[in-house]
Symmetry: C2
Amino acid sequence: MSGNSLASWNDGTSKQSILDFVARVTTTGVPDFVPPADRIAVFDNDGTLWCEQPVIQLAHVLQRWEEMAQQDPALRNQQPWKAAVEKDWTWFRTAITKHYGGDESDMPALSKGVLAAFEGLTTEEFAARVAAFFRTCAHPSLKRLYRDCGFAPMVELLRFLEAHGFTNYIVSGGGRDFIRQIAGDIYGIPQERIVGTSTSLAFREQGDGGDLLHQARLDVFDDGAAKPARIWGRIGKRPILAAGNSNGDIPMLQFTNKPPRQALRLLVLHDDAAREFAYTSGAEKALALAKQYGWTVVSMKNEWKTVFA
Amino acid sequence: MSGNSLASWNDGTSKQSILDFVARVTTTGVPDFVPPADRIAVFDNDGTLWCEQPVIQLAHVLQRWEEMAQQDPALRNQQPWKAAVEKDWTWFRTAITKHYGGDESDMPALSKGVLAAFEGLTTEEFAARVAAFFRTCAHPSLKRLYRDCGFAPMVELLRFLEAHGFTNYIVSGGGRDFIRQIAGDIYGIPQERIVGTSTSLAFREQGDGGDLLHQARLDVFDDGAAKPARIWGRIGKRPILAAGNSNGDIPMLQFTNKPPRQALRLLVLHDDAAREFAYTSGAEKALALAKQYGWTVVSMKNEWKTVFA
């Protein structure tokens, strides 16, 4: 990749918006010029930089639940371990559908399972597990390794922005310590620029050293209104470019706009059933706001020459 | 400053420890070599990079309490606003002394005052206030602006480490958004590499934009065992060098050690009543552990040619 082109983007509204915006903020001497230190770009991950059908992190948790149930047979009669062992995807789909319909009856079991999955592991042990997962596990229908599920045009955009003095961050509702193990390889974004959901970490002192252990407790769920707060907490600046694909990205996209400074907001639209998936579930409000406020909607079908590398 | 010398350090144990450590981890082909991306150095701020008698951030809060009491006369009869208006430093000293003795009777008023001080301000409004504070406010006994209270040998160390491929972070019990406004000027450390105590920030949506508002609620008190967790949360790596000066830095100093990898731990000792201050209060345990584990104790009196630039 040249780092200086958007070769896998078709000529069209989105590509032109990106080119125009980057030209405006990087031209010295014009009012819209933004110095390189303030060229901050933030990207949601699931559905924005890689596919989210199914959520890749869920496959990692499922693998762990099966492992836990092998070690402790009593778990095989409890949800969500039971569904994981029996590969009963209907149970998971029903739990999520009920949740969206306001019925939270399966949520306590699901949350408990997610939080218990890696309890007691050190940060290094968890990292090694995630790295192993990405070496071997493949997407069920796309028939490619999860590590190859990044969207090529978005990776190209990351390089294009870097070539123009931007600094890219991931700001994801997914797990911070999960994404960190793969973001360098897929996206070229280093570990310190991954913001995401996290479980609490407890320090266990041991003589002149010590480790951080994953706790069965949520630290921050990095979605919705938490995203702007986490961006400020991490970076101390407002971004000038934000990309998302769902309702959980709305506050991040809004926060990026601070007139008279220029801002570019991108919303990835999953409308490509042939090459990826077609759905707008969970993005309805974001799409309505994009129309209302003129955010740039990126149609995968129309604007991307290729989806995967 | 050349960026490549420790000219304001006297020849002695500390300078030699730093030079030896940096040589070991930056020499390619030896077992102790650490690649540049993993050369992470973390620094406490109060008492490690600048003076902490009195705590500089407290001066900023006091200024705000006086302002609040001017606008709302009812506050003048309530602590801590009353003590701030009357410049009754004894009240503050007594509150802290009582706290260390286990008597928390003044703490609710003090905490409430600290958290209420900037409630409702946007992150940008808060930043502008802090910047104004640093332009004009001076240390009461050192007779220099607070912005000139950084320790010259430590600033020199930051440049020396950078020149050898290290990335420096501040990890402070002080306020993240307070330090951020001055760390670039004093230490050359950018806003995204400041980790510190924070109040909760709430996103207020406003049409196609929105702001983050300071809440009267603590988010994270970044001290003690919180420091390693925050370092991991922010950086995703263990540091190989850590510098502190008090008991609150102990877990950070321990976490930095992960044999067989090399690690350098520095503990600044305030033993220079003539040029700065002499005290070990709040550092007793850290000094005992430094002796037990061989951490490098930096005597300001003996090892620094100059204290302030």
